[in-house]
Subunit: 250 residues, 2 copies
């Protein structure tokens, strides 16, 4: 255990994080039902870094399962440009681990001023983003100490799945959600030692994904930057022939 990094220890907590979320499932389902009852016309998200990648997962999930459009809005729209947003009938979801970023709080407030109902998907509830939201959904990941966030990312994706299950009243998705702690335990128990060696010779690489997995590719590339100091870039499988292949041929 003495050789286990803080990051690895936090990854090992993921099955328990998901189990805690399932104990609080009604909170997420109710948030989803509410989006449906409100006749939500579209959604906007805001987030930074890892949490923004969770928002990308939420975006693909809502667009493919619900069919409503989801726009990721940059905090600069509020903080640099001072725009007056027009979001009547929209829901705004802010994804944040710490809830402490003033620019996320500012964009959330601009969305609220523009008529959106605001929901914060947060790990640290007692925070500026939490205080400024109409509704707070807890990620329940516990203290995130490693510099590269892990368990809160997974927690935000699970919250997203549960919100959509509530919106659609989707029994199949609920059953799938309940299998996640065991699936996560199984994944953690496997031997991943083959994954590292091919990366040792690389100093630059692409993480390729598509649809829902685009969010995972984005997060993988960020983790490879943060933890391996590799220039990894996420790329949609559909865009490979626009640019990346030109380099990979070499």
């Amino acid at each position: 255990m003495s050789r286990t990094t803080l990051m690895a220890a936090e990854i090992a907590e993921i099955p328990d994080v998901i189990a805690r979320q399932l104990d609080a499932l009604d909170t997420y389902l109710e948030a989803g039902r509410r989006l449906h009852q409100d006749g939500t016309r579209g959604l906007v998200t805001c987030g930074r870094g890892t949490s923004d990648h969770a928002a990308t997962f939420f975006k693909y999930l809502v667009e493919t399962k619900v069919g409503l459009p989801v726009a990721s809005i940059g905090p600069s729209v509020a903080t640099v440009y001072g725009s007056k947003l027009r979001l009547a009938g929209f829901a705004c979801l802010t994804f944040s681990q710490s809830g402490g970023s003033p620019d996320l709080a500012a964009l959330q407030q601009a969305a609220r001023d523009g008529g959106a109902r605001t929901t914060a998907v947060l790990n640290v509830l007692d925070s500026p983003v939490g205080e400024g939201a109409d509704l707070v959904l807890p990620v329940l990941a516990g203290p995130e100490r490693a510099v590269a966030a892990t368990k809160s990312f997974v927690g935000m994706m699970v919250a997203s799945l549960a919100i959509v299950a509530g919106y659609l009243n989707d029994g199949e998705l609920l059953v799938a959600l309940k299998s996640l702690p065991d699936l996560a335990r199984d994944a953690l128990g496997r031997n991943w030692s083959h994954a590292g060696p091919p990366l040792v010779r690389a100093n630059s690489l692409y993480c390729v994904g598509r649809g829902l997995n685009m969010a995972v590719a984005a997060e993988a590339s960020l983790k490879l930057k943060e933890t391996c100091h590799l220039h990894a870039e996420a790329c949609s499988a559909a865009e490979l022939f626009h640019g990346p292949v030109a380099i990979a041929d070499e």
Copy 2:
């Protein structure tokens, strides 16, 4: 002249492309006025590669100047997931040079089936995307022969500015638009020879931008991939501390 690349020759056409667009200004302005009269609640865009970066410029422009949210929807939402989109009250803008991509045509059709009014911002009008749109806005860039598209990217940004000028009936923006051909001539006439040498030693780099310039950073990184075979990645100035700085320190 014999040493001029096709790409450089096409870049040199940009001031004339913009002048042609200004001759057709009413078409863009009318499209913008129509978005306003229709009571558009939000917008979605679709595009690939360079044209998708032009859509990113449009997104920031609309969000900061008009305040309506703009969601970029991946073609896979229609082609892989077969989602039923719900876009009543939305406008869908497809950005494409060739108009020939079947997946863009499929997403445009899915948006139309979902209730969106569809506009195609196109360089090649006689194309599947053009045929499937409610309204076609010509980019007027002329044949784009170089592999790395240039003049159509600028043309799509100019079209975006003109659409927003029409939506807002913004006289100041109109005056600025009319100065663009001269500004482009001035920019092309300058000495850019200092820009290359710092890149010669790099094999990996970040193109940093924010807000409207995020689109330009994205396009610059794609061009550096396509033409210099450099692993360039676009990065928001606001996200620099999430990952990239960890590498740049080395």
